[in-house]
Every structure is written in structure tokens, then in C-alpha cells.
Amino acid sequence: MSWIAVGGEKNKVGHVPISENLSDVQRSGVFAPPGHWRLGWYWAGRRREASILIDRRAFLANVGLGVALILTSLIYLCTGTVAIAPASTLRALFSEAEPTVAFVVNDLRLPRMLAAWLTGAAFAVAGCLMQTLARNRLATPGIIGIDNGATAFAVASVVGLGVSLAPPAMALTGAATATALTFGLAGGGGTRGYRFIVAGIGVGAVFGAATQLLMARVAIDVANAAYPWTVGTLNARPTGTMTVLAIGLGIGVVLSLRLSRALSTMRFSEAIAQGLGISLRRSRLQALSLAVSLTALAVAVAGPVGMVGLIGPEIARHLSSPRGVPVIGSALAGALVMTVSDGVGRLLLSPIELPVGIVTAIVGGPYLLWILLRQGGSGNV
């Protein structure tokens, strides 16, 4: 087996060597299309071949986002009511440190940071999938009511409506219910256009009201226990739910990547995607189930922080190339936005803590307006 990696450098001029004699192209081997790295493998005496293309801009964007995430997270771990020097923080993370520092970093801040990473990534990947599916950047799970559905059901289980399922299972049920309702109300139009979004906003409003109603009818201490669900916070999240989210996110990202080729084709009009061999019904169902599950798992940990599903993919799309659907980029950007937002929420009015959902809403609200009011902004992905 031989390993051949062809860089894009040879290929600055055009997309394949421009040559009048076509056999020249064959003789000179395979070049990566511009803006890509190509990894190729041959085996069985060059009779069989496998190849992977890496989009250079998307790759660099992901590296950049990854570095930013790590730096931000380090700051996140260092700051708080007790400031800790970066060196001590790193020592606490990777070797021995004095017990109080180790406790603050490893037991208080690290789990919360991981919760920010996981929920941010899950919300943003779900947002990216839904936006691509609906070809509209407003169609994120947060806006079309999936978050609210998940929240209403989770709150119902917390305030004890005689339902004993764990919050994640309830959140999943709620998200699925909200999605089914939205689909039903949007009618045959599928996931396209404003009808779907408007139906989703309506469904979300109903579930939001249901949540408020549930909270109003229970004793104040029970309502207090349920309150974090309604705004979205990373304070003292249940570890069991975190584990479920971590596993779910891993599977979800792998499946989304598997789907990303079909997704990038689904950005064209329906007829074109079908003409290129995409089974629309199946791909849509897969993308939608993934988005709903990821949202539900994230809501079960952090409550409805749906704005991340809007902002994360937008950052990723802005940094990446228009050639593909940025699944990994969205995950990283979502984690970054969540970490920054929660860090700001913890520090801004310290020692009072702002729930992360409120911080993302304060940032996300104006951003949403900008999308809606921007000149010529069709809202298309």
C-alpha cells in the first residue's frame, strides 16, 4: 500500500492543469481541486483507490476555532470569585496542585466548562442541521419551538406531574412532540419556507406558556427548583445527564458528518438535489431526528439556550468556505460561544450570576434583528 498525498500548492493556476492534450491530465496524476488538500490511498497494485478531500479554509477555520476555544476555556478556568494564575490552573489540570486550587479548578469550574462545551456544541450542530434542512437561517431549533417543547416536558417532570421519567427522556419526548406539532401545522409544505417557521414559533409560544403555567401552579420552592430550566443555566448540572449528552453528541456529530455530503447538496433547490441522487425524504428525516435529539439532550443539561443554535453555525459558516456544511465548525463555534457567554455571565455582575441563557439572549437578540433587517437579507443559508 502506498501513501500519496497531493497538496493543493501545485494547483494554483486552475482547477486541473489546462492542457489541450487530455492524456496529459491523466499522466500527471490527480490534483486536489483549488482550496483543498487531497489524501489518496492506492492498494492492490493501484487498481483500487480511496480519496478524501479536506477543505483548506474549513480546516483552518476549525483549527482557529479550536485554539480560541482552548484559550477561552483556560481564561474561564482561571477567573471567577477566586482568581487563579494560569500556571496554577494548568498544574491543577495536568499534575498536582494545592488542594483548594485543585478543588476550585477540577471540581467546580471544569465540569461546568465541559457542560458549556457539550451543550454549546450540541445546540450549534442541531442549529446547523436545521438551517441547512430548511434552507433558512432562522429555522433553528430554538426559534421553531423545539427548545420550548423540551423545556416544558422537563419542567413537568421536575414539578412532578406524576411523571417519573428522567429530565433527558422527558426533554426528548417534548422536543419530538413540538417537532411533530410544527410539522403537522405547517402542512404538506415540509420544512421549507416561512410557513414552517411561523408554525414553529406558534408551537414554541404554546409550550412556553405551558411551562409558565406549570411553574405558577406549584409551591414556590418547587418552582425555584424548576426555574433554571426556563432560562438556561450551567450552574450545578446533573452529571448523569452530562454523560448522556457527551455520548449523544459524539454519535450525533459522527452521523452529521456522514450526512454532510447530502446536506451540502440539499442547499440547492429540491429538484437539483434529487437530480444529483439525494434521497430527500430519507436525508431530511435523518437530519431532523439528529437535530431534535441533540437539542433535547442539550436542553436536558442546560435548559433552553437556543440562541447558540443561531449564532454558532453563523460564525462557522462565515469562517468556512461556501463549499460545504460546517458541522465541526458549528460544534466548535457553539462551544466557544457558550463558554464565553457563561464566563461573562459569571463575571459581569459577580458575585451575582447571570444565567447563560440570558447572556446569549442579550447577544443573540440584536443579532437576530440584524439578520431580519439586513438589506437584501433573504435569510437563505
Binding site: 490527480v30 444529483l276 461556501p322
Partner: protein
């Protein structure tokens, strides 16, 4: 460039196509000649685009079937169908910022997979498609910076890159000015010379007569005439289809039909 394609035959048997409860096409039979340019013509609303959508499986029949080389297209997996039949719908839209070459590379999608993302074949075929459409110089230009004709050629190049024997085009020239129309028609003729079968919906009868080998004239969801344009198209057919009176003269050079003295028929109102 002489890529030769095996002759593909497309036929419809007792095909019924309907939107909700309204039938547009009721029991249509059709055999398309292989390796030729077939134009489907007819007045607005005659069901020609619906028929094309049915032939391309965008629209599932409520009865009957479409056979591609004898296989019912409803039973073919999506990717398999996309390797045998390419389609260019009307008003095709691409994601923002895509370049010509990037668009054409999407045509390779049905031939690619997770571990087969860019092969020597892909490179060769995309190169050929760029050449065939005369777009080498524009390969790295974003689509939205091109003229209408160039953009339409880029879309056709994408379907060329699918390497199918059969190409279905829905009004590929409808939004173009005369020069750009001819650009696209000549590309279509060139593709037919490589052995592809091409079916195109056209609203312009004179162009259909000039560039198609085979004509299918539709009215109210039925085929009212089909065959070689010079034998099928008569003043009577033109009156029946469009309510237009005209005289038809053979072009002294090419023998194709020229339309003269066109006016609304007196009894149409």
C-alpha cells in the same frame, strides 16, 4: 472530446401525473428516440414541465410507469438513477459564493462516496465538462458574477459531469437573450453529438424546430403530434397549439422550418 454514451431509451406507459386531485396527464404513452434531441413544446399549462418532472422522477406517477432502458425509474435507488439520468430544472439556484468549477464538481456527487471524494475520473470528467461548455477561463469565477448564458452553461456543465446517457432540461433558454439562447442550443447540439439523449422542454417553437431532431407537441396533457419537426409542424398544428396563424417556409440553406407572417387566428377569442 468523443465520450460516447450507450443509447438510453426512455418510455412512458399509461403515465398518469396529478397535483393533489387534479390530473394533469392522463394515460400518456411515449417513446423517446435514443441519441437525439427531443423538444417538448406546447402552450403554457399544457403539462410539458409536469411531464418532464414525471420522466425525471421529481413527480411520482399516480398511475402507469416510466421505463429507463426497461427499468421502472420508481424502483431505482436515487444514486443509481442520478448516474443514468441528469436533470436541470427551471430557475436553478446555487448556494451563495459557489464558483463554476465547484458547481460542476457537484455533478460528480452520484459517483462519489465518503472514501471516494476525488478520483482521477472525477478530475477528467470535470475538466471535460468545463471544456465542453467552454468555461475553462471562468472555472474559478463565482457563479453570481457570470452572464445569464454563462451561468446556464455552467449548470448544464454540472449535468454533463454526471456522465449520464440521458439529459433532461426544463426550459434551459427561457430567461436568456437571443445570443445566450444560441450559446445554450449549440451546447445542447454538441452534447447530442456525443451520443447523449436529450429531452428539453421549450416554449419557443421556432427554436425547437431549428435545434431538435424530434418534436413532441402537447395540448391539455395529451400528445397531439410527435416526430421530426419538418414533417410534424404544420400551420394547422401551430393554430391548434397556440391559436396562431402562420406560413412555414423551408430554410433555403438548412431545410429547417422558418415561421413567417405570424398573427393571432381569427377564431381564438
Amino acid at each position: 472530446m468523443t465520450t460516447d454514451f450507450p443509447a438510453a431509451t426512455l418510455e412512458a406507459h399509461q403515465l398518469w401525473l396529478a397535483y393533489q386531485r387534479t390530473s394533469v396527464i392522463e394515460g400518456l404513452d411515449l417513446v423517446l428516440p435514443a441519441g437525439r434531441v427531443t423538444a417538448i413544446v406546447g402552450p403554457n399549462g399544457c403539462g410539458k414541465s409536469t411531464l418532464l418532472a414525471g420522466l425525471a422522477r421529481l413527480h411520482s406517477p399516480s398511475g402507469g410507469c416510466v421505463l429507463l432502458d426497461g427499468d421502472d425509474i420508481q424502483r431505482l435507488p436515487s444514486r443509481t438513477l442520478a448516474r443514468r439520468l441528469a436533470l436541470l430544472p427551471q430557475q436553478a439556484q446555487a448556494p451563495e459564493g459557489l464558483t463554476v468549477a465547484e458547481l460542476i464538481r457537484f455533478g460528480r456527487q452520484p459517483h462519489q462516496g465518503w472514501l471516494r471524494q476525488w478520483s482521477a475520473d472525477d478530475q477528467q470528467v470535470v475538466h471535460d465538462a468545463l471544456r465542453a461548455a467552454g468555461l475553462q477561463a471562468l472555472a474559478d469565477r463565482p457563479l453570481d458574477t457570470l452572464s445569464g448564458g454563462q451561468r446556464q452553461r455552467a449548470w448544464i456543465a454540472m449535468t454533463i459531469a454526471q456522465q449520464t446517457s440521458l439529459l433532461l432540461l426544463d426550459e434551459p433558454t427561457s430567461a436568456l437573450d437571443l445570443g445566450h439562447q444560441i450559446e445554450v442550443f449549440e451546447l445542447i447540439r454538441h452534447l447530442a453529438d456525443t451520443g447523449r439523449s436529450i429531452v428539453t422542454v421549450l416554449h419557443d417553437l421556432p427554436s425547437a424546430c431549428r435545434y431538435a431532431d424530434h418534436l413532441i407537441a402537447m395540448l391539455d396533457g395529451r400528445i397531439v403530434a410527435s416526430g421530426e419537426p419538418s414533417t410534424v409542424v404544420t400551420p394547422a398544428l401551430v393554430r391548434q397549439l397556440y391559436g396562431v396563424e402562420c406560413r412555414l417556409l423551408p430554410d433555403p440553406d438548412t431545410g429547417s422550418l422558418l415561421f413567417a407572417d405570424m398573427r393571432l387566428a381569427a377564431d381564438t377569442e
